[in-house]
Symmetry: none
């Protein structure tokens, strides 16, 4: 089933609203074996809507429009579609009763524009909208389907789930669909991943199996798609490919699942080993703690930490030797090591993790350019630091430092020998 | 200038990535007097890309594609466009030098796929990409322009700002365009803003002047648009409206500028008064420190802080009275007050700011439901706390707590009497 989406609204084109409806539908359908092959965004413009609906219906099995069904003068989707089909408008009685009852409950008078809300083209099946006042509509023409839905996310989602999906399933029963698996990897760059580790992926990509790499600063996703009648059969088809990926990438794989984050994977490793962690952050300025505590249940292993942005806080709160700061600078291996160790010991945590780096534009030297970051690790078994060199983009450096720090913890806890991005550990 | 955007990538259709690029461009061009009339999202599919680029170029003055310029096998935009124009590929030497220097710095070998990255169709002008390894490209055919950009947001944004916009402006010189002013307000809800404070805005909205409200958790934006040949003339036209907005919203206005953040406005207030700040965070788990340190130059006023996620860290590192935690709970006014004061005094900062709340699903009680947050403030002149009640969405609660905390600091430093959202201060 090929689906095309038409998102309608000037606010989308002007960027005042981000089109999260389209991405929600994309995910929802991908998870249910249907495929969105195109998304159009158009403004509140009769000619554009008409032209786009016509083009999409020529191309797809199902076209879904969202938006433009409200009561104000710029909501023109319904009349445009009715004109397209040369259909008369008629009142949909069940919706009229329902909307009247809502208005009565809220003590609002029922006005002329509300009658317009409950009128639908005579040739549609109404998709009853329990969450709002604008009915959804379902049309069929020459074997192509058109669903016209409101743009309010909770109304759209309920109609997709309970009205559109069953209609799709009824019509695709027994037909092959595409199912996805998301394998997450950390501590490895996208091009190293595809060029070196998965260079020999070609032979696996037959029989409607495909692979995609989705980069993100913390953890890249390898998405494996395969077509079959059921998820179980699809997984069986892609089994050899998935095994190849696991063999090639072993320790880089942090888990599976679209929503799995590196913070969660690291947290799971800590929880599984009953270990606690404390942070001592300089250049990341709180992002490491924040990323750890974004994961629900992180209080199981996250004790807390110290943000030592000023050097005197490193000395006074983390007992870093001020002589070392003077002699080797705050961005140095011994400072990172002391911060990690003293941070953990002061807060009585099993593991301490520290960051100290040059994020400030103009703060670099030849020897320590902007982007130099030392990341320290301490536990009773291990005490070392990783030196990295990122860009001169302040926020990106914070993010990448945190990614290295989290993955360094995950690997050490799980006894994986190599460090993220193959960085060499400098031991205490 | 009519612009159409083509966003390329299976991950967009499948909803793995939300199309924030298109909305960013929509806003950016609206701010600079150009209009996005359509957005297409297509997958990594040669035929679809080709067909959509052709259709868009028939229709618009400028077509912008983003995505599909990376080094992996599913990145096919560049070769598809080259085929369309029947153009040979050639190495772009300046990009080659630049990419090689990046790889050298990071100590990564330069591989075959990296050569593909620096090759471009012979008929394009290269839009030099200082932020990444994929060059942008600019084509012209029969008076229509085509810009081919990478999909990585920071790369795309820099290219739009510094390469695409000047080319548009050169070609639209002297024509009336729409110019925007962004007035940022904090500590006030969107509906209060529009329904109460700016209820009488109607009479100002004539003569091509319009106003829009763009909500965000930290600071809402009031965007004033007006059409004229130059920014100066546009500002003169909207002057009366802007004056009305300033009169109505006075202390809620934190400044102007699209990119102005609440963190920056609060930081400016601190710097102007030569004050330093330290944080003591429980429920926000590092987000407050992180938000403060996202602003360049924040080391002028940000000393650091303590993340006291576990209660014993509150006692041991912030000298909170354990008896009070036992009797009144960690989420209470006296704990917030002690955290703010002791946090500041331990780190020798002028101002201390604290958060303690119930973020954990299931952690609430009738008296203190999930979403209850106490935010504490201490300086030599003031010592008080604000009690707030948010939702049961963990991440949203963190964000909103930080917004209240930052605005509380800004208002206190600037001697503004009311607190954000009219919350009543509980004094020590």
């Amino acid at each position: 089933m090929q689906i095309q989406i038409i998102s309608i609204g000037d606010e989308l084109l002007m960027g005042d609203t981000v089109n999260t409806n389209a991405s929600w539908m994309g995910q929802f359908f991908a998870d249910h074996g249907a495929e969105v092959s195109r998304v159009y965004t158009v403004g509140d413009d009769t000619a554009h809507i008409r032209e786009t609906v016509t083009a999409a219906m020529d191309d797809a099995n199902l076209v879904i429009t969202t938006g433009g069904l409200g009561p104000t003068h710029d909501d023109i989707t319904k009349t445009t579609i009715a004109d397209m089909f040369e259909a008369e408008m008629e009142i949909h009685e069940p919706t009229l009763e329902f909307v009247k009852s809502i208005f009565e409950k809220r003590n609002i008078p029922f006005s002329k524009s509300n009658y317009d809300q409950v009128r639908v083209p005579e040739n549609c099946d109404v998709l009853f909208n329990k969450k709002g006042t604008a009915p959804g509509m379902w049309f069929e023409e020459e074997g192509t389907f058109l669903a016209v839905l409101p743009g309010i996310p909770r109304e759209m989602k309920a109609l997709i789930r309970y009205q559109v999906l069953p209609r799709i399933q009824e019509r695709t029963n027994g037909i092959d669909r595409s199912f996805a698996r998301h394998i997450k990897v950390a501590g490895i760059g996208e091009s190293t991943l595809s060029d070196e580790y998965l260079a020999e992926v070609g032979p696996y990509l037959t029989n409607n199996i495909s692979v995609a790499y989705l980069p993100s600063p913390q953890a890249n996703t390898i998405r494996v798609n395969s077509r079959a009648a059921t998820r179980k059969k699809a997984n069986r088809k892609s089994e050899a490919l998935v095994e190849y990926i696991y063999n090639q990438l072993g320790p880089y794989i942090i888990g599976e699942g679209k929503d799995l984050t590196l913070s969660e994977a690291t947290g799971n490793a800590l929880r599984d080993h009953s270990l606690t962690v404390a942070v001592a952050e300089s250049c990341t300025g709180g992002l490491l703690a924040n990323t750890l505590t974004d994961t629900p249940g992180s209080s199981d292993y996250m004790v807390g930490g110290v943000i030592a942005y000023a050097n005197r806080v490193k000395v006074e709160q983390l007992n870093v030797d001020s002589k070392i700061i003077r002699e080797q600078g705050a961005v140095s291996k011994p400072v990172a090591l002391q911060m990690a160790k003293n941070g953990a010991q002061n807060l009585d945590a099993d593991i301490g993790i520290s960051t100290t780096g040059i994020a400030r534009p103009g703060g670099g030297t030849d020897e320590k350019p902007v982007g130099t970051v030392w990341i320290g690790f301490w536990s009773t078994n291990a005490h070392f630091a990783l030196k990295t060199l990122f860009t001169n983009d302040r926020l990106l450096n914070k993010e990448r430092s945190v990614a290295v720090a989290l993955e360094m913890v995950r690997r050490t806890v799980l006894d994986i020998e190599t460090m993220p991005y193959g960085i060499k550990p400098h031991h205490a």
